[in-house]
């Protein structure tokens, strides 16, 4: 078969209606033909419109409940920190410990910041819910707060990281620049002169706001500096990209 033969098949392929032998041949061709791949994507959009012809129907509320329970289970079981691999860079050890900021002052600043976030995002219910969760963590006895400030490419960006004695942590960031496709921000924990320990990755909303839940590495509980870099979206075991935000040490 030649290219034109495969082009003829595209509408049927968009409907998954090719017979097995034709589908295999088409898929082989697709792997090496950008033109057919792009045309298939357009035809798939046409096929997808047919879904709307089905009568909209309401599923049981239990489906949503089961879905979110399943997701929470996954969140609880997925390792919160990517396995550590030694880094070779030394600049990460140079932040130094700048001393703790009194918790009361920090919490006050934090509350003002969160309230401002609430006002800015009042239309977004989910963000408000997350802000409430953040505030609850802030108000947990013994919780500590780190303020991260933008540097270099992240100038103007800010973030706050709060964590409690059990190591439950939340990061809220604002005014982050958008990241290129395939990239994400990644959180790092830096303890003394040791190599940075990797945290989760996240992609901010188009308005520059981002939020993640995290579990603090045990080694970072007593004293740590926090930093955020831009890395491949799947995360890295050691930082490779420039620092966008960093904190003073939290003791």
């Amino acid at each position: 078969m030649v290219h034109e033969d495969f082009k003829e098949m595209i509408p049927a392929r968009a409907l998954s209606a090719l017979d097995a032998a034709e589908a295999r041949a088409f898929n082989d061709h697709l792997s090496e033909c950008d033109e057919c791949r792009m045309e298939l994507e357009e035809w798939e959009a046409t096929a997808a419109a047919m879904a709307v012809s089905a009568k909209p129907m309401e599923p049981s509320p239990k489906v949503r409940e089961r879905l979110l329970n399943e997701v929470r289970k996954e969140l609880d079981t997925v390792p919160q920190v990517i396995p550590f691999r030694s880094a070779t860079r030394n600049l990460w050890t140079s932040f130094g410990l700048l001393g703790a900021i009194p918790a009361v002052v920090m919490i006050t600043v934090l509350i003002v910041g969160v309230v401002m976030l609430w006002r800015e995002n009042g239309a977004l219910r989910e963000r408000v819910a997350r802000s409430e969760e953040f505030m609850q963590l802030v108000n947990t006895p013994g919780s500590r707060v780190a303020e991260l400030n933008g540097v270099d490419g992240g100038a103007g960006a800010t973030a706050k990281l709060v964590y409690d004695n059990a190591g439950r942590a939340m990061l809220m960031a604002d005014k982050l620049p958008n990241v290129p496709a395939g990239k994400a921000y990644q959180l790092w924990f830096i303890v003394g002169n040791n190599p940075p320990m990797p945290g989760k990755t996240f992609v901010p909303q188009p308005d520059g706001k981002g939020m993640i839940k995290e579990q603090m590495p045990q080694a970072a509980m007593r004293s740590a500096v926090f930093a955020i870099t831009v890395e491949p979206a799947s995360g890295m075991p050691a930082p490779t990209g420039p620092i966008y935000l960093r904190s003073s040490a939290v003791n």
Binding site: E8, P11, A12, A14, L15, S16, A17, L18, D19, A20, E41, E42, W43, E44, A45, T46, A47, A48, A49, M50, A51, V52, S53, A54, K55, P56, M57, E58, P59, S60, K62, V63, R64, R66, L67, L68, E70, V71, R72, E74, L75, E126, R127, A129, R130, A181, A184, K200, T201, F202, V203, Q205, P206, G210, M211, I212, K213, A233, S234
Partner: protein, 191 residues
Amino acid sequence: MQPEREQESDVALIKAIAARDEAALAQIYDRYRVVLFGLLMRILNNREEAEDVLQEVFLQVWRKAEDFDETRGRPFTWLVTMGRSRGIDRLRTLASRDRVAEAGAREASEETSDAAHDAFKSEQRGLVNDALAQLPDEQKRPLMLAYFDGLTQSEIATHLGAPLGTVKTRMRTGLIKLRELLAGQDASFGF
């Protein structure tokens, strides 16, 4: 199928899901559950199976969100393609094409919630149905049998008692015409 702003919002939600944002998943579920459940009920004609597949589809969204590439298609297309594929897979697994529908299942779940109108205005559904209604039956039937029943062209030819070549031509012509009709509606169908 969607206003541009809504689509942008969908992209942001999928990115948030990729960053493990559970609330974003809940939001995209709330936005699309009705249209996807309608599609799955149309395919499976069984409420319990359709609800089970609906949950699977959104779990897949949760697990595969980072694979979504906005340069290769709209969120709506991605979700519906995933939903339909899962539905057809389940249909084949159950071999339920000829199964008698469970009594009352369809009627009992025909209510359309207000949420249906959030994502897909009834007029948009009307546009698609009007476009399909304008297709000659000989073109429309192969499309419907392929899309909702998961039949291949050979199976459709057998089912309709028509030559395979004829079915291929009618299916291709029908989908081309459907695309032209929808594009002419200026309803942001993405093509």
